[in-house]
């Protein structure tokens, strides 16, 4: 049998549930972040950049690069690598990112 991360750690997760990415159903395991669920489905990009319109997704994996910003349940600028997935979450590709709300 092919080696997998789940097999490696002997994981017996609770049953998967569904979230959607740009309207398309994506399975997620309880305890995964949104970014992990998307990677699990082979999706690596869920944001386009403001100037170049280039695709981006998770890069640092630990909340520090802000490349993984997604619109989650209508709310923009959520770091998908930190936010846990919940049944029915809708993720939509975020176009660009602004810092209007923030004092960076």
């Amino acid at each position: 049998m092919a080696r997998t991360p789940i097999g490696l750690v002997g994981a017996q997760p609770d049953p998967p549930f569904e979230i959607t990415f740009d309207g398309r159903p994506v399975p997620a395991l309880p305890g995964q972040t949104l970014a992990a669920a998307l990677w699990g489905a082979g999706i690596l990009a869920w944001r386009t950049t403001r100037d170049g319109g280039r695709p981006r997704g998770a890069f640092c994996g630990i909340g520090q690069c802000y490349d993984c910003l997604a619109t989650v349940n209508g709310e923009p600028n959520r770091r998908a690598c930190l936010v846990p997935a919940h049944p029915g979450d809708t993720i939509t590709t975020q176009e660009g990112h602004g810092h209007d709300r923030l004092g960076v």
């Binding site: 080696r3 002997g10 990677w39 802000y66 490349d67 959520r78 846990p84 923030l102």
Partner: protein
């Protein structure tokens, strides 16, 4: 009393939810084992629940201090001991870790202790009040979006915020499928996922071997590990190697795993280009000369669908820099906090442990945390540390620090790496500033440091506050001479909503605030 006795797997559900369930609660009044009243400051606030922070918190608590342990994450463990949330039901989490038992032991001590573990707390600033106490300001929730900012007060502060990964840009590094090496490791350890099926691991530093061996054990094909440095320089300091047998053993474990999975390691080489339109399809690997300059005509294409890349780690010290702590330049060109023999910084009352004082691994972090915890307890309880009680810890720390310095010197980026940057390579990922524009600012406007480049080009002004491009911009600005390490100066450690800042204005002085120390800031 532990606020998160059963580590919550789940912090705030969305931005609109209130903070993590366990974490904004106030402690009972008075707290039984330390006698702390709920409205009194803690004895100690520890920021960061990785190896260093955990060890420091439990050591101080076991000696009788009231301790709050803050971390942005929902679980303890930090970067090294990152592990799946309980709902993922991992029966063998140790399969992805070296020395899991050390963490299991710390976690057991944490649960048995009176430490208040406040999860989902993103500390954006620490302030020394006029009465000498400290206030830590935190956003709450999984990604800091919950509407319940918190203030936690304490008599002493231990910063154990770890490190972030150092990146050097190269053509194509912004393509989806290019991920941080530590990032791939983190996503695997916590989410049990991989960024692709065939993953090249590249950059520099000992972390690459650990990452490649985990990815391969988890089923990825790893066509190559590409290391820009050689390992020769380790050999020049045989004493540091010989006195750190555990480190050597760890390296052997990784090397054995790589052999088992038939992963070739290419030394003195780098990924100099990534190919693909919307995601990674292949990379070009070129030989480097001693200065890390790519050698023309040596490029070889390797097919893959992901690239995990990193060039070592940078201590995460902005909270300390903002309150004036002295830093020291480390052998790999980064800055760490300058600490005395007992882990105290130049600012009295502020201690640090782990990667904040220089990158050195989980075992060193744990040793320093334990030492700091004991020293702080002795200081606060008015029992100056008996030298004997900490001598063993200090000796172990010094031995491991010596090894860390060798390692860090061996992987310091050579000045020639900018040779693989094309003018259209984005250096700043956030603001999409290409190398050409930065070179122009340097040539035409005479910019000589990262700050001036930032003002002229916006490089480093985005959400990550220069964490991803800081090293590169500093190297470009120094134009070949030894670059100044990026100053790690950021107004806030994490971006803060303007509403939170506005709410602070005119809020009562926290030292005399009637609300409990963990209550949200009134907004």
């Amino acid at each position: 009393m532990t606020a998160s006795a059963s580590e919550p797997e789940d912090v705030a559900r969305s931005c609109s939810a209130s903070g993590p369930k366990d974490s904004t609660r106030t402690a009972p009044d008075p707290v039984p084992d330390t006698g702390r009243r709920a409205d009194a400051p803690y004895d100690l606030v520890v920021v960061g629940a990785g190896s260093a922070g955990l060890a420091g918190a439990v050591a101080a608590s076991e000696l009788g201090l009231s301790v709050a342990l803050l971390d942005s994450s929902a679980q303890s463990g930090g970067q090294f001991y990152r592990h799946p949330a309980p709902a993922l039901g991992a029966r063998r989490p140790e399969a992805l870790h070296h020395d899991w038992s050390a963490f299991a032991d710390l976690r057991r001590r944490l649960h048995a202790s009176g430490v208040d573990h406040l999860t989902g707390h993103h500390v954006w600033s620490v302030v020394k009040e006029t009465d000498g106490t400290w206030t830590a300001h935190a956003l709450t929730g999984a990604d800091g979006c919950a509407d319940a900012p918190a203030r936690i007060r304490a008599r002493a502060l231990l910063l154990a915020t770890g490190a972030y990964e150092r990146q050097l840009p190269f053509p194509g590094w912004t393509l989806p499928g290019v991920v941080g090496a530590g990032g791939a490791q983190a996503m695997l350890k916590s989410g049990l996922v991989l960024p692709g099926r065939s993953i090249v691991v590249a950059g520099s530093g000992p972390l690459l071997l650990a990452v490649a061996s985990s990815l391969a054990s988890a089923g990825a094909r790893v066509p190559a590990v590409v290391e820009a440095a050689g390992y020769l320089r380790y050999g020049r300091r045989p004493r540091a190697l010989a006195t750190n047998p555990r480190k050597a053993a760890e390296a052997l474990v990784h090397a054995a795993a790589l052999v088992r999975h038939r992963v070739p390691v290419r030394l003195r080489s780098a990924v100099t280009e990534v190919h693909g339109t919307d995601r990674v399809e292949a990379v070009t690997v070129s030989r480097l000369d001693r200065e890390w300059r790519p050698v023309r005509g040596t490029g070889r294409r390797i097919a893959c669908d992901a690239l995990a890349v990193g060039h070592g780690l940078v201590p995460q010290i902005e909270l300390a820099v903002a309150v004036g702590c002295t830093t020291r330049a480390l052998p790999d060109g980064t800055l760490g906090l300058a600490l005395d023999d007992l882990q105290e910084s130049s600012v009295p009352g502020l201690w640090a442990a782990g990667e904040t004082g220089g990158v050195g691994g989980a075992e060193l972090a744990r040793t320093e945390g334990e030492l700091a915890g004991r020293v702080i307890a002795a200081r606060l309880l008015g029992r100056p540390a008996r030298v004997g009680a900490t001598a063993g810890l200090r000796r172990r720390r010094d031995r491991m620090r010596a090894f860390a310095d060798v390692m860090s010197a061996a992987h310091a980026p050579g000045p020639g790496w900018t040779g693989w940057l094309s003018d259209d390579t984005d250096v700043c990922r956030c603001e999409e500033v290409p190398a050409g524009r930065i070179r122009e600012a340097i040539a035409a406007c005479g910019a000589r440091d990262a700050r001036t480049v930032k003002l002229l080009t916006r490089a480093g002004m985005g959400w990550c506050q220069g964490r991803m491009c800081g090293t590169a911009v500093a190297c470009l600005a120094s134009a070949g001479s030894a670059p100044e390490p990026p100053g790690e100066r950021r107004p806030f450690a994490v971006p803060v909503p303007l509403s939170t800042l506005a709410a602070l204005d005119g809020s009562p002085d926290p030292a005399s605030a009637p609300d409990s120390p963990t209550d949200p800031v009134p907004s």
